[in-house]
């Protein structure tokens, strides 16, 4: 992966399975160094970690086999930024309502998998009015997407669609049920990385 200067922030992407390359493209457009994470040591020195889109059962099996749940939780506890998109959002949740997978429990929401149906029900749209103003015209691409329910008091909802939270944060942990990495629009990644980009 390319396009990194000596001071470029290093951002890891969990590379068990999923659209790792799409996230790497966005990160590189922002001047970050994108690296693949498959081992505990791969988390060293990262400004942030992305849990990409993909299949949440596949990725959760990989996290178990590689014993990465503990190290990822430690990364979060030590102030590391984490962004989960779609499958990644499911993995960050405190629990999954249907078709359970082993969650990391880093975000105080409940995930509902395949909440909109199968692939023929996948769609693209715009967020409800009243969300984060600088993201008001963001294209939201939902692919076999989950819904997030019962957000805890620490959850800030940045964007909604038809009333459902679709972009949320709890401190430095962010989750999107859509795919901000697919349209080449770097605004969500930019906001998530915040001062790590300018510093």
């Amino acid at each position: 992966m390319v396009n990194s200067g000596p001071t470029a922030p290093r951002v890891g992407i969990l590379a068990v399975q999923g659209d790792v390359g799409a996230h790497a493209g966005v990160l590189e457009a922002l001047g970050c160094e994108a690296t693949e994470v498959l081992r505990e040591k791969d988390l060293d020195g990262l400004e942030g970690l992305i849990l990409p889109g993909g299949e949440s059962t596949t990725i959760s099996r990989g996290i178990e086999r590689l014993r990465l749940a503990g190290p990822i939780r430690s990364f979060a506890a030590s102030g590391g930024r984490i962004l989960g998109t779609c499958a990644g959002a499911i993995l960050l949740a405190r629990e999954v309502e249907n078709h359970p997978v082993a969650c990391l429990g880093l975000l105080d929401v409940v995930a509902v998998r395949n909440a909109y149906g199968t692939q023929v029900d996948s769609f693209a749209t715009r967020p409800d009015p009243g969300g984060a103003p600088e993201l008001a015209d963001l294209d939201l691409v939902f692919i076999r997407a989950p819904r997030l329910r019962r957000p805890g008091p620490g959850i800030e909802v940045l964007l909604r669609h038809e009333g459902w939270p679709v972009l949320v944060r709890e401190g430095r942990i962010w989750a999107a049920t859509f795919h901000p990495e697919l349209r080449g629009d770097s605004r969500v990644h930019r906001r998530w990385l915040g001062e790590a980009l300018s510093g």
Binding site: A15, V16, Q17, G18, D19, V20, G21, A22, L38, G53, G54, E55, T57, T58, R61, G62, R65, C86, A87, N98, H99, R113, N114, G117, T118, Q119, V120, D121, S122, F123, A124, V141, I143, R144, H179, L182
Partner: protein, 305 residues
């Protein structure tokens, strides 16, 4: 049932519809898609970490052995598998059989494989895939064939390989053909691209796009003959972005262990230690077939054009 009419693609613009279809293919990257014939097999595949399953009535090795006309799987088989798992469920229709494809779309399958493994319904034309809401995957032996299928609306390309053979040689040939032809296109000056489009039998605009970007506009997966973790790692090393395993899992001695092993080798294809660990203790692989022993009419990859 959904309010959209099957095969109509209503409610999406063409470009947006295509993007949404390719989006699911993107999500399957780095994963293993496994052929299954029962809900029990589907659950074994999901538990092992498969990124999707292909619902079939018979795996290719059995289709090859038993002969006869191979058609879309029965509705009951597909529905039982859809109920059994939460990962995407794909299903195959015959080449050119638009009515089978519409049935699969109405069933809400996540991906339709217009597949040479089934007996072709049309020996001259493939399905016009653009009007569908369901994404399609199609097999290809070379870049021209891949581009013709993309031109018709396929959202994912896979090698044809030689399904049900347990022999990786054809998948390797097809992967090398596609990647080699892409490299050659990317090195061609613009004035040569029309002649290349003519020689490839491919749409000119796609030829220009691939020459510019150096890659297909849709994900490129491997299929046909993958039987071991090392086979999967080989395909990834040759540029495949994910792998389909057909008969290789459930025609082996220990399907659950082999399924986990192929998933592991696909994730860690760059790491020989991991592929080694994945290759231990699997029992015997499916029996394989030497290409020379297959008569021309027994070669599934020759179906379609």
């Amino acid at each position: 049932m959904r309010e959209q009419q099957a095969g109509s693609g209503s409610g999406r613009t063409t470009a947006e519809a295509f993007e949404i279809k390719v989006g699911l293919a993107e999500m399957l990257k780095g994963g293993v898609i496994m052929d299954v014939t029962t809900p029990e097999q589907a659950r074994i595949a999901e538990d092992a970490g498969a990124a999707a399953v292909m619902a079939l009535e018979r795996v290719p090795a059995d289709i090859r052995r038993e002969g006869g006309v191979a058609r879309m799987a029965s509705i009951e088989v597909i529905e039982a598998i859809q109920r059994a798992v939460s990962i995407p469920v794909m299903a195959k229709c015959r080449i050119g059989h638009v009515a089978e494809a519409r049935v699969l779309e109405a069933l809400g399958v996540d991906f339709i494989d217009e597949s040479e493994v089934l007996t072709p319904a049309d020996d001259a034309h493939h399905i016009d895939k653009h009007p569908f809401r369901s994404p399609f995957v199609c097999g290809a032996r070379n870049l021209g064939e891949a581009m013709r299928r993309i031109g018709e609306g396929a959202a994912m390309i896979r090698t044809k390989g030689e399904a049900g053979s347990g022999n990786i040689v054809e998948a390797v040939r097809h992967l090398r053909a596609v990647t080699g032809e892409i490299r050659s296109l990317a090195a061609s000056p613009p004035e040569e691209l029309m002649a290349r489009a003519r020689d490839l039998g491919a749409p000119y605009e796609l030829v220009r796009q691939v020459a510019r970007s150096g890659r297909l506009p849709v994900p490129n997966f491997a299929a046909g003959g993958i039987a071991t973790p090392a086979d999967a790692a080989l395909c990834m090393a040759l540029g495949a972005e994910a792998v389909f395993v057909g008969s290789g899992i459930f025609k082996s001695e220990d399907p659950a262990a082999r399924a986990r092993a192929v998933v592991r080798a696909t994730t860690h294809w760059k790491d020989p230690e991991e592929v080694l660990a994945a290759s231990r203790g699997l029992g015997s692989a499916m029996p394989g077939i030497e290409m020379e022993t297959l008569a021309e009419h027994e070669r599934l990859a020759k179906r379609g054009w």
